[in-house]
Assembly symmetry: C2
Homo-oligomer: 121 residues x 2
């Protein structure tokens, strides 16, 4: 198993973040990781709404979030814990994440993704 790759914060590109969060499912995962005290096993995030996400897709979504610089993942034994990198990303691109997550939150019921109003950490 290859070691997990994380971009340095200064290598994080806005287009990667937008692409990662342009999927409502991924945006919901990110919101959940952020709100859950910034720690979450991959599988804990596996059901969003009605939908059960297959493991392989889940693994891939998490990878997209990680490589976009949005989360940090560490292996702990057999599981992986995910932390949001909100503070770093916020310092580099102020207002970006709040704007995006609030947009999804205010879009509300109609999207597939539930996110309360934003308040990091």
């Amino acid at each position: 198993m290859r070691p997990l790759f994380h971009p340095a914060i200064e290598d994080v590109r806005p287009e990667a973040i937008l692409h990662a969060l342009a999927d409502p499912g991924r945006a919901a995962m990110f919101a959940k990781i952020m709100q859950a005290g910034c720690v979450e096993a991959c599988s804990a995030v596996a059901s969003l709404g009605e939908r059960v996400i297959p493991k392989s897709s889940l693994s891939n979504h998490i990878k997209v979030l990680r490589e976009a610089g949005l989360i940090r993942s560490e292996r702990h034994g057999t599981e992986v814990r995910n932390h949001s990198r909100w503070a770093e990303v916020e310092a580099r691109f102020p207002g970006l994440l709040a704007g995006i997550l609030n947009a999804y939150a205010s879009d509300g019921g109609s999207g597939s993704c539930s996110t309360g109003p934003i308040d990091p950490r």
Copy 2:
């Protein structure tokens, strides 16, 4: 030629906006349309940096921006004029566009896209 379709502002989805702006070229077009007094023929937007964009791709990029709800296009004789819908989008998703365009702007030279700091209209 089919009449141009524009979503009503309440039908605009955050994921469509993120997807549209996840392409640095499209983000640069949008920034240009906004800054150029909100009016711009498609062809006026055709050269971004070094790159000359083929007409068919350009037409498609403009369509993506339009269908995401970011711009309004009107035919005037043989050309199409594009207006940004900043105010409407800002009212629906406060802070979203500013966050995104500022992120690209502060990413600056390294991306393929030049956008000054944001100040609508």
